[in-house]
Symmetry: C2
Subunit: 152 residues, 2 copies
Amino acid sequence: MTQKRWAYEDMVEGMVLDLGSRVITADEIIEFASEFDNQPMHLDEQAGRESLLGGLAASGWHSCAIYMRMLCDAMISDSTAQGAPGVDFVKWRRPVLAGDRLSGRCTVVSRRLSQSRPGLGLVLARHEMSNQHGDVVLEMQNTVMMLTRRDR
Amino acid sequence: MTQKRWAYEDMVEGMVLDLGSRVITADEIIEFASEFDNQPMHLDEQAGRESLLGGLAASGWHSCAIYMRMLCDAMISDSTAQGAPGVDFVKWRRPVLAGDRLSGRCTVVSRRLSQSRPGLGLVLARHEMSNQHGDVVLEMQNTVMMLTRRDR
């Protein structure tokens, strides 16, 4: 039996995990973008204002990474999760701007046991991050592999 | 007329952009994971070997971010690109391990002009990153918004 709090069996269809919230700062946006996505609207307030994004805005990949950390802290780190083969879709619905407070929410859509690997389950999860205005900024869906309690 | 090298008109269907290559180090993998995806297999060699990934492996989001930087350096930074509304799919096909040399390749699948915004084009692009063994580690597809030369 695993000692982890979250195993495959705990991921009940329809379950909603509140991932809490955090503020994203201009410095963080610029630091991430400098390394991974050095487009002007992610590096400079003025360039951001002149872009479609309307202000200094986080790289979409930065939004994904911030959500991932929220999911780790709320669930993955104390779970039997074994990674994921990919992401079904990513929608950057609205710009993430410096100073925004971001809230994460993960919903279990469905689950099934792996046919090929005993003790492994596949959890289809819907991911959503919103800003302080209640606008959804990020939507994703993917399948997370998780061990069952039984076969540990 | 834009002074940028790459505008919508340059993104010809079937065109392949070679994004060059770079090595990913253990330190980088651990640094990214410590901030954004602190699962054991992304933080520790031993834990990685015991996981499905088979070694100290980069977070999937780190792979995406590294690809993004390659695309910026090869094209986006000298282009009329205006961001992207999302990603159609992300496939983490194989683990990205410490010491791997990663090569990026971007293929233009199709393109069309925006119906609603004159001067804006939508470029459907296929993204691929491979390791030194020629194995594809990352596959993605998305639509990149780019200004046309004409309406600048």
